[in-house]
Symmetry: C2
Subunit: 532 residues, 2 copies
């Protein structure tokens, strides 16, 4: 059995980490280094000369990839082997086939489970095309509200904001996720319900927040004199409580082999994105994701961008000891993309046991966070430059803007200023600055990389989404953890139900039974007194 | 001179940290503990029994507060002493008087600089009242766009979303911050410019992003046949390039003793918030902030909520070694509040030198991040429960919702479900769960606290804002760092100007001089080739 921290390449990397490349060395940034640490594929370019790596480090990381058989594991994942499991313990025992949701283009995976999943996904796409054509013909609906939480919210929301520039005229999307009633009240307040469709998304059909929020929506529709059945679409598992043609305008299916955080290219994202952007653009988005999935199968580390990125992340996390990593898109349209990547990464790799159920003895997934640049520069970059913690950064940039609406001020466009800031931050974080004034001293050696694309269009966003999905999976493969379950969300859920039960008892004016709930009782007494 | 890590109380705390309270101990959560670790003031209640502290730890932290003379330092700050400085080196040498921006209520500070600042602030409020009355009478404008970045954006934006439920009918606020031209294009696309006012905010009047974006706005206004002078209000320093009555409808002043990240209660937030919420509500917000400022002067640690919170944060950061801390508001309206606190905290305390210019030998400000609950539970909580890093959490909750629009589903309201989840997460993170299935084992000992308020109204938000502002200041006082400058943003800015200059040369088709810019050149060549 493979043990990460006893593997040969890990021992070698530990040695190298004792004296990592010094990015503040004035002689380091030769054109040779910069040129050799650029990797391009599918129109994306990854610049990583500003990571604390040398060619020797890269070789050792490449050996790690080999030793951990990441390409074979990726192949297994994309082919539909049951990899979502913990050996020897009850676990989900599922395939992981989000890549099949977009495998309709070149070189489709030939393995039976992958093929079957792709066919099922394609069928849903066809159903969706019919529904959208119908809706288009009737012309009743202008707005669509996604009702879902976690993966049913973050991914579709991030993609919507990213591609809002491509919105169909007169169409708008909204999102209602939180069980906080103010979320729904705020969203619904601005809408003409007679022109609004709702997509309720829950794989199990029994997500408490989503069921509650669906009820909230149904009550509002009824109060407005509308029949909820004509306004609500379900996206759910076949046979779930939500798979009920009497209650929904239409139903689209998802399957247990699609994790919530990997579901944006399935119907979870498909219905609202195709409604608001058009099916052609949604397909372009899928085509981009699919192209990157194929690239992720490339054994050559240097051209396999998600693998290359995963290895650099492993280096920063396990060998340079960085507890967090920031994603900073120099693009306002990607304002919610870090929040999606936060879930994708932290829910996948925030694990403490390996695939054999043994507690790991090394660090797994870091905290992922971020905001767009240049905004971040005027916010938390102070700490990144001069704080006591080192925060690796994943920059995302685009050569062109989306709207083609720009201004020349003092001899350059805003887009040029944006790119200038992006590259300036990358270099200055790496290099630092000497100064006799201690407040103007910058220690440098803040590792970072840039992924640069021509423009943020549906295809490119598909590439980026899959780049991160596959990079997260690769990190999990290397750590030998299961990146596809989320047992850590269960405990809080269970305890919440006990509190909810207390509230229900109170509502029915039953005497509260302290013995039933010895621990929460002390708090509940306080809340109750505040409530009364 | 005080040295944090040689102080008596720090040595004592280091001893205590060797064996911190075990929150997974079944006998720990007695009613006595819970009750004694609740502190209430001004309607807010802080629950901290779920922090890894005992009464002994709290005593040692209280000694630390005493030893570091935090109350005296807070008094000096609020009285207008020049505390924004690094002794012995060129530095900003400024007073820090954001508290004066709201010191119009009871027990106003009597020190001359504070009094003077409050008078100046009050004058601006009166000017604003007149302008708003004029605008109201004319009735032309429905929308206002804030053009600013960093502190001129994050605070006002967070407050606007938090209080959107209190918006005046027919009024809306928008925000344009990023130098990414798609930000402006996206915001302006949805607006009727003839009914729109812009507030351009820059203390210096020379923030590159804001100047550029103002130009973008002026061009759009002119193209729409409108005179920019009738549509743009300036908020800036007296005598700045933006202090020009020929170019703006009105000008409001801010001063060098108001840091951007502390400026939301000044005219930086005042103009747009009073326009959209009404002056009465903005004043309520100020009244809340002011009340908390007074509380921050209380020597009794237990009732001084911002100090109590600061000490718990110091414990988690310096003694339990936590590199990040999450803020999780159980309130969708606070969706952007963590982003504001991120700047407030990280730009203030992400420092590596003390007030005497000496490099610190301990950790200062952690990474601050967060998203609303319950959403976060379906995203990154997996890592918080079962990851390899311990992430302290600062929960924020409210007893009532804002819109009074709720639904009963399965016997409880959404608001009750929301609160149930909040308290359930707090307890389950602390206590963990034993299990023979390693995937269902939760290590617990995840420290967290809850700040609970009756409802999110303007007054309460003022309390919360000042609670965090003062808590950040207290942490800085304890570490003996300067929380009020931001030298770390300069280096990237400087280098960006060099790149911008390269773009300008390229635009003028001048041959690029590689010698002028040896380092960025290698990258620039790549960008250039991508651009062409």
């Amino acid at each position: 059995m493979f043990l990460f921290n006893q593997s040969k390449s890990v021992l070698r990397l530990n040695e190298l980490a004792e004296d990592p490349v010094d990015l503040t060395d004035d002689t380091l940034f030769t054109s040779k280094r910069v040129d050799s640490m650029i990797s391009s594929a599918l129109g994306l370019t990854l610049f990583y000369a500003t990571e604390r790596v040398s060619e020797i480090t890269m070789q050792a990381l490449s050996d790690l990839a080999q030793e951990t058989q990441v390409i074979e594991k990726m192949q297994k994942m994309q082919s539909g082997e049951v990899i979502n499991r913990i050996e020897g313990f009850p676990s989900e025992e599922r395939k992981v086939l989000h890549t099949a949701m977009r495998d309709f283009f070149d070189h489709a995976n030939e393995a039976a489970p992958a093929k079957e999943a792709a066919q099922m996904a394609y069928q849903e796409l066809e159903k969706l095309t019919h529904l959208l054509t119908d809706l288009e013909a009737k012309g009743t609906f202008t707005d669509m509200v996604q009702v879902g939480i976690g993966g049913s919210d973050l991914g579709p929301r991030a993609v919507y904001y990213a591609l809002k520039a491509y919105e169909k005229p007169g169409r708008r999307a909204h999102f209602f996720s939180n069980v906080d009633p103010d979320d729904g009240a705020g969203v619904l307040r601005g809408l003409d319900l007679s022109k609004t469709l709702f997509v309720v998304v829950s794989k199990s059909g029994s997500t408490l927040e989503t069921n509650t929020n669906e009820t909230f929506v149904r009550e509002h529709l009824t109060k407005a004199g509308l029949d909820p059945k004509n306004h609500i679409i379900a996206v759910t598992g076949k046979g779930s409580p939500m798979d009920d043609p009497n209650r929904y305008l239409a139903a689209f299916y998802i399957w247990d082999f699609i994790g919530g955080r990997y579901s944006v290219t399935s119907m979870v994202g498909g219905v609202i994105l195709a409604f608001v952007l058009g099916m052609d653009r949604f397909l372009e988005f899928l085509r981009g994701a699919n192209a990157m999935d194929k690239l992720a199968l490339q054994p050559d580390v240097k051209s396999n961008l998600p693998l290359l990125s995963a290895l650099l992340s492993i280096w920063n996390r396990n060998f340079l000891g960085c507890a967090t990593s920031a994603v900073i898109p120099y693009s306002q349209a990607l304002c919610r993309f870090p929040a999606h990547l936060q879930q994708l990464n932290m829910e996948s790799n925030g694990k403490r046991i390996d695939r054999q159920g043994k507690a790991v003895e090394f660090d797994t997934g870091p905290v992922i966070w971020g905001e767009p640049g240049t905004n971040g520069q005027h916010s938390f970059f102070q700490l990144i430059h001069q704080g006591t913690s080192v925060i690796p950064i994943d920059f995302i940039g685009f050569i062109e803007n989306q709207y083609k609406d720009d201004v020349v001020f003092q001899g350059t466009t805003s887009q040029e200023k944006l790119l200038s800031n992006l590259f300036a931050q990358s270099l200055s974080l790496a290099r630092g600055q000497k100064s006799d004034n201690p407040n103007q001293f910058f220690p440098g050696n803040r590792p970072n990389r840039i992924i640069l694309a021509p423009r943020l269009d549906p295809y490119t966003l598909g590439l980026l989404l899959s780049y991160y999905e596959n990079s997260v999976a690769f990190q999990g493969f290397i750590w030998n953890i299961n990146s596809f379950d989320q047992e850590g969300v269960q405990l809080g859920k269970k305890l919440a139900l006990q509190y909810i039960d207390l509230f229900a008892q109170k509502r029915e004016q039953k005497p509260l039974d302290a013995k039933q709930f010895p621990l929460g009782q002390a708090y509940f007494r306080h809340i109750s007194s505040l409530l009364s």
